[in-house]
Amino acid sequence: MLLNQLIKELITKMGDDELILGHRNSEWTGLGPVMEEDIAFSSMAQDKIGHSWALYRILHEELGGEDPDQFAFMRSEKDFKCCHLTEMPIGSYDFSLMRHFLFDHAETVRYNSMLQSSFLPLQQLARKVRGELKYHTLHADAWIMQLCRAGEESYLKMQTALDNCFQLACGIFEAGPDDKQLAAENVYPGEEALYEQWIEAIYPVLVKASLNMPERKQPVYGGRYGKHTAYLQPLLNEMGEVFRLNPEATW
């Protein structure tokens, strides 16, 4: 397959992850546990949506893709390539926080690996989002430490959240059929390499928080091939509701 087509697929799944999780996390706005956290979490949700917009713009401007808004709001469910982790409902705050911790470390190793990407627009974006992601993981790590040291009830909730999230999070790294070619062309190192870097990034934090890291037994795959949970379609309906009233409108 043409390299550009492979890059398009890579950027689509990255952008979809960011858009869907950004939307999910924004559902906490106004409902966060304390005001300060509400603002921080909402702000990071906005960052994610911003990243998806930047990725969709690369598709549009460099790879002949659709207009970013059309691409985000008018596609059908099977054309989305987000992983199941991002689709799950927000649940309680321990789940959302653990998902944020696992996802943002994954995002960080992914973008860091692209600082040397042979595809220049990705390399530039990786440099641009670096500072934002540094804050996201700092925030996530601080909360994990705080809640794991706040008594037994709190610690058990965090361990349960980790157990519930982990196989889903492994689904972020569902290998694509052409990862080898993308790695050979130095676009990015491929999903398995990122998975290993991700484990290296989260493991020290989990140890410090006395959490037991589950094994990768049954990673939840399917999202990258357009197979989704029952939670995605209602999210897409809600997210695109206003846009679809008049798709030609200028915002």
Binding site: V34, I39, A142, Q146, R149, A150
Partner: protein, 127 residues
Amino acid sequence: MNDSLDPRINRLKLNKTDDPCKVEEGENWNVFEVFHQEKRGAHHEHVGCVHAPDAGLALVFAKEQFGRRKKCVNLWVVRSADILAFDVEDEDMFANNLEKTYRDASGFKVMEKINKFKAQAKQANDK
């Protein structure tokens, strides 16, 4: 007694009056004052406060609360309780300040000298 809307209050189980009240570590959040630095070398200026269980999270909160709009290169947080201040009734110590105009820096008339020096420098440059 009705339950509070704040889970931290409910956890204190205040309605059981006989039991001693125990506050778990990190449960009783503190107020931290936030200081914002606009550029390297500039003073950190007080901009407000955040609630947080410890200084680390206070800094994390302060970043989004006070560092996400205008230019910012660094933030400080300090526990409000660690600040030593005068009592309100000691305000009278400062009462006569307004009379001691001889302490105002405005009393030094240097602008004339500065302007003269600038004019000289300009003349020298023009030559």
